[in-house]
């Protein structure tokens, strides 16, 4: 399952999140659309099977999850996402309103639980809050990429205990590729990670930044390969597993 860093809308401020809405009722989908359209990007699916397919193939910032779905209980998916990609926030939106239902949802891994019927302003506010909480505060403070030690809070990279001089763009490309070690990221995916979709910057501009980053990291066990017509992939030259993150440095929910 894929995760992404949400784009920042320079005009409105705040995040432009790509949201997967898992909801089988068309009328309920319409309510979500009315609440969030024009603020966030929405993809709708009506079953767990479709949801799993989308989560495998696309990147999302947030999942809005109904629990009563035609092919099963949404909590099963919540559990799966928690195991495979605990950085992807989930808001359960359900007509199951009892305390035990809400507790079960949160215990299973949901970041928030909204009961139906809800006010559209409440949905928007809860989405914004979860996005702020989960995407502004990285859950891990340290990350190892090859021989590089990355401090995600300070946005600082060290090699052999000395700072590696990276521009902010190079830093974000390093994180994007480092999080998906060995996988090809398209220019479009890297572009989204850097600027979000609201800013119109040519995707070819990424090439120059990648080229400089490649030169800076090559001495530290890392290679950046360009795949013609596809994008870029980073691999570790020496270490079998080159990306590690520490346990949560920040308690979940603390910004």
């Amino acid at each position: 399952m894929l995760g992404r860093i949400a784009g920042v809308d320079p005009l409105k401020g705040g995040f432009v999140a790509k949201v997967l809405v898992i909801e089988d009722s068309v009328e309920a989908q319409k309510l979500v659309e009315l609440a969030l359209k024009g603020i966030h990007e929405l993809d709708f699916v009506a079953s767990l099977a479709e949801a799993r397919k989308n989560l495998r193939e696309k990147e999302f910032d947030l999942v809005l999850l109904d629990l009563t779905l035609p092919d099963g209980d949404g909590l099963n998916l919540c559990e799966e996402v928690q195991k495979e990609n605990s950085r992807l926030p989930i808001i359960v939106v359900s007509a199951k309103t009892s305390v035990s239902d809400r507790v079960m949802g949160l215990v299973t891994g949901a970041d928030d639980y909204i009961t139906k019927p809800y006010d559209s302003r409440e949905l928007k506010a809860r989405v914004d809050t979860v996005m702020r909480r989960t995407h502004l505060a990285p859950r891990s403070s340290q990350m190892l990429i090859g021989e590089l030690a990355v401090d995600l809070l300070a946005q600082r990279v060290e090699a052999d205990e000395k700072p590696l001089d990276l521009t902010p763009i190079e830093y974000r490309i390093l994180i994007a590729l480092g999080e998906k070690m060995g996988e090809v990221l398209t220019r479009e995916q890297i572009y989204e990670r850097l600027w979000g979709e609201a800013v119109n910057v040519g995707q070819r501009n990424i090439d120059a930044h990648v080229s400089k980053l490649r030169r800076k990291v090559k001495d530290y066990g890392l290679s950046i390969h360009s795949k013609r017509g596809e994008g870029y992939a980073m691999t570790g030259d020496k270490l079998e597993k080159t990306v590690k993150t520490t346990s949560n440095a920040l308690p979940h929910g603390i910004q």
Partner: protein, 96 residues
């Protein structure tokens, strides 16, 4: 044309027909599920109606659906049938 029990915003008003016509289809599905004693299906339908009726301007429908869901949970076919009649009568009031 369909009216609502309580006023709703114009953007919701535009999609009230979609909501209303889906509920008319639900009446048939509920009837079939009662005949089949398919309480699982009844719970799902009632649960869905319960969750979305109020924002579309039909708070009483939410209440009826909630009662139907509980009746289905207890596998009380007579009470579910009674709630179906109530639902049907309620919806007719807002068809203009």
């Amino acid at each position: 044309m369909y009216s609502t029990e309580v006023p709703v915003d114009s953007d919701i008003q535009e999609i009230v027909p979609l909501f209303y016509e889906s509920r008319l289809k639900d009446l048939g599905k509920i009837n079939d599920a009662i005949n089949d004693k398919n309480f699982g299906q009844l719970k799902v339908i009632a649960h869905t109606i319960k969750g979305i009726s109020a924002p579309y301007g039909y708070p009483t429908l939410e209440r009826i659906a909630k009662e139907m869901e509980v009746a289905a949970l207890h596998e009380n076919a007579n009470l579910v049938a009674q709630k179906l009649q109530e639902m049907e009568a309620y919806l007719k009031r807002y068809q203009v």
